[in-house]
């Protein structure tokens, strides 16, 4: 009976003891709980705003799915001989899909859509005719779909990542960044100007790529490497391969890389000399390059080069220099240096100088070897970034054509919206 009384007292007394707690402490607990409830309500409201009443995306068996992309458009105005003008308009849409399918496995794909409309510059068909090129009205329209990146990736760690599929080559500075929204000047440097082509080094390939990095010491300096082997989509019987090794000075924001590669560049199919319209002519400005994206003559090549990427606060500098030994024809040489200054949080000023000697090639009719010569280009660009997703650029180009002293001036207005 005595024991039961004690239990009863305890039952009655415990809540009473709680009630007798310091009121300030109780108030603090209540305030704390109220704050937590408010936080959870805010969080729930934010989540609801993002999803609305829609069903959430299901990613089949993937652990996560990232979806993004960009829309980039470029309008060009070119001033030609005798006051002739031409313009063209290019729009590019690329979607990014990345699915994490397991801890170390992911898939990345970037299907793209390309649309070109406008007139072209008409340069003299041979390099011996002087005079600035005239612009003609050559209404042309072209659209295509392409896959610039489709690969599966296995990650062993920072020291080893393996990609297989359609992968980018690791060479160069602009080429490494590839997707246009990252660029301060919309179009690539002269030796990578042709979209996904292999002018001096391949921009992409079908095959495998190994990448990795290793931190050295507490300073954070690291060594990065890339190696690849594969083929190009239009010449599956010709292997290409290469490698890049870089040293990154962490505190300086400086990366210095050495590059090497070799392979075969497939030429255009042979054609009869009597053909009224050769498959491709050489040394004619097509779009914004004085060179073609592909050579007439098939040749083996072996290239080496260095690239330097320096990012320090509001300054970005990218420089690359490459030399390619071409079988049986003159060698190729390229230099590109770009300097950008983000002089305000939303504005950047950029300058780029390109030099590209494309070596030599069979002439369009296959009758002999033609020196393609070298071109140089100065570009001054202004970028405006109204927010993190939008970049608007105006670039002024002064292009000196090969084998003559003729020049082309043009202005590119471009914008990229990425999401």
């Amino acid at each position: 009976m005595k024991q039961a009384s004690i239990v009863a007292l305890a039952i009655v007394g415990l809540p009473a003891a709680g009630l007798c707690q310091d009121p300030d402490a109780l108030r603090k607990q209540v305030d704390d709980l109220s704050k937590r409830v408010e936080e959870l309500e805010d969080h729930a409201a934010k989540t609801a705003e993002r999803t609305g009443g829609r069903a959430l995306l299901q990613a089949f068996s993937a652990d996560s799915l990232d979806f993004g992309g960009h829309v980039s458009s470029l309008f060009t105005y070119m001033h030609g001989e005798n006051g002739s003008d031409a313009g063209h308009f290019v729009t590019l849409v690329e979607l990014f899909l990345k699915a994490q399918v397991a801890d170390s496995w992911s898939v990345f794909a970037a299907p793209g859509f390309y649309l070109f409309n406008g007139g072209l510059l008409d340069n003299p068909g041979t390099t011996t005719i002087t005079g600035d090129p005239a612009s003609i009205e050559d209404d042309s329209s072209e659209s295509r779909m392409f896959l610039s990146r489709v690969y599966s990736q296995w990650v062993a760690g920072d020291w080893l990542q393996v990609q297989g599929g359609i992968v980018g080559s690791p060479h160069g500075t602009t080429n490494r960044e590839y997707f246009i929204p990252a660029r301060n000047i919309a179009i690539g440097n002269l030796h990578t100007r042709y979209f996904l082509a292999n002018q001096l080094y391949p921009q992409q390939l079908l095959g495998g790529r190994l990448s990795g990095k290793q931190v050295l010491g507490e300073g954070g300096d690291r060594i990065e490497y890339d190696a690849y082997f594969g083929v190009e989509d239009d010449s599956p019987s010709d292997g290409i391969g290469g490698a890049r090794i870089a040293y990154v000075f962490n505190d300086l924001g400086l990366a210095v890389a050495a590059n090497y590669g070799r392979g075969t560049r497939e030429g255009f199919p042979s054609q009869p000399v009597s053909s009224p319209t050769p498959f491709f002519t050489a040394n004619v400005p097509v779009l914004q390059s004085p060179f073609t994206g592909r050579f007439n003559r098939t040749r083996d090549y072996e290239f080496a080069g260095i690239d330097v990427d320096w990012r320090r606060g509001d300054f970005v500098s990218k420089t690359e220099a490459y030399y390619s030994a071409e079988e049986d024809v003159a060698d190729q040489k390229a230099l590109s240096t770009e300097w950008a200054w983000f002089f305000a949080s939303q504005w950047a000023l950029a300058y780029r100088f390109d030099y590209y000697d494309a070596g030599a090639d069979l002439d369009p009719l296959g009758l002999g070897v033609q020196q393609l010569g070298h071109a140089t280009e100065h570009v001054v660009g202004l970028s405006f970034l109204p927010n993190d997703a939008v970049k608007i650029r105006v670039d002024v180009h002064h292009l000196e054509l090969p084998n003559t002293r003729d020049t082309v001036d043009f202005v590119n207005l471009s914008w990229s919206l990425s999401f």
């Binding site: 993004g68 990345f108 920072d158 960044e177 507490e218 606060g313």
Partner: protein, 159 residues
């Protein structure tokens, strides 16, 4: 007359004390808020000082993806306007908001890498860090002492 002289002396002696008292009473700047970079309690990282900051910076910016023991890093960010984010940006990353935005634009377009997920509150961030071995993020130092989480290093907000 003697009283007047004494009063004058007293006033003279007291006069300098008035501005001093005013100075003492003037509002002092608030103390600098302390923040902590927190990791999962199982994280074996022993780095301190600048070395720890450099590691956290590389992992947050996704230039590296693994802690030294091989565990995949899982960084969390705070909202762009959160004081934790601002302090982390200044003291640990040493970057401006525009520079950080350019970094993520470049990373996304080079390799499909996305920025860390934003987390609204200290408590939710701590919950994420507690749940994932490689997770880390920044919270107010006063909020950091919870089970399953440990402080890798603390820093103060720059003025």
């Amino acid at each position: 007359m003697r009283k007047l002289a004494m009063l004058t002396v007293v006033l003279f002696l007291c006069a300098p004390a008035v501005p001093v008292a005013a100075e003492v009473q003037s509002p002092q700047p608030p103390p600098l808020e302390s923040y902590a970079v927190v990791v999962n309690a199982s994280n074996p990282s022993k780095e301190t000082g600048d070395a720890a900051k450099k590691t956290v910076k590389a992992l947050f910016l996704k230039e590296l993806t693994r802690w030294a023991d091989g565990v995949e890093a899982k960084p969390y960010d705070r909202g762009a306007k959160a004081p934790e984010h601002t302090a982390f940006l200044q003291d640990v990353l040493g970057m401006s908001p525009a520079e950080l935005a350019r970094h993520w634009l470049r990373m996304k377009n080079m390799s499909g890498v996305t920025p860390p997920m934003d987390v609204d509150t200290d408590r939710i961030l701590l919950r994420h860090v507690e749940r994932h071995d490689g997770a880390f993020g920044v919270v107010k130092a006063s909020a950091a002492k919870v089970p399953g989480v440990r402080v890798l290093f603390e820093f103060k907000a720059a003025r």
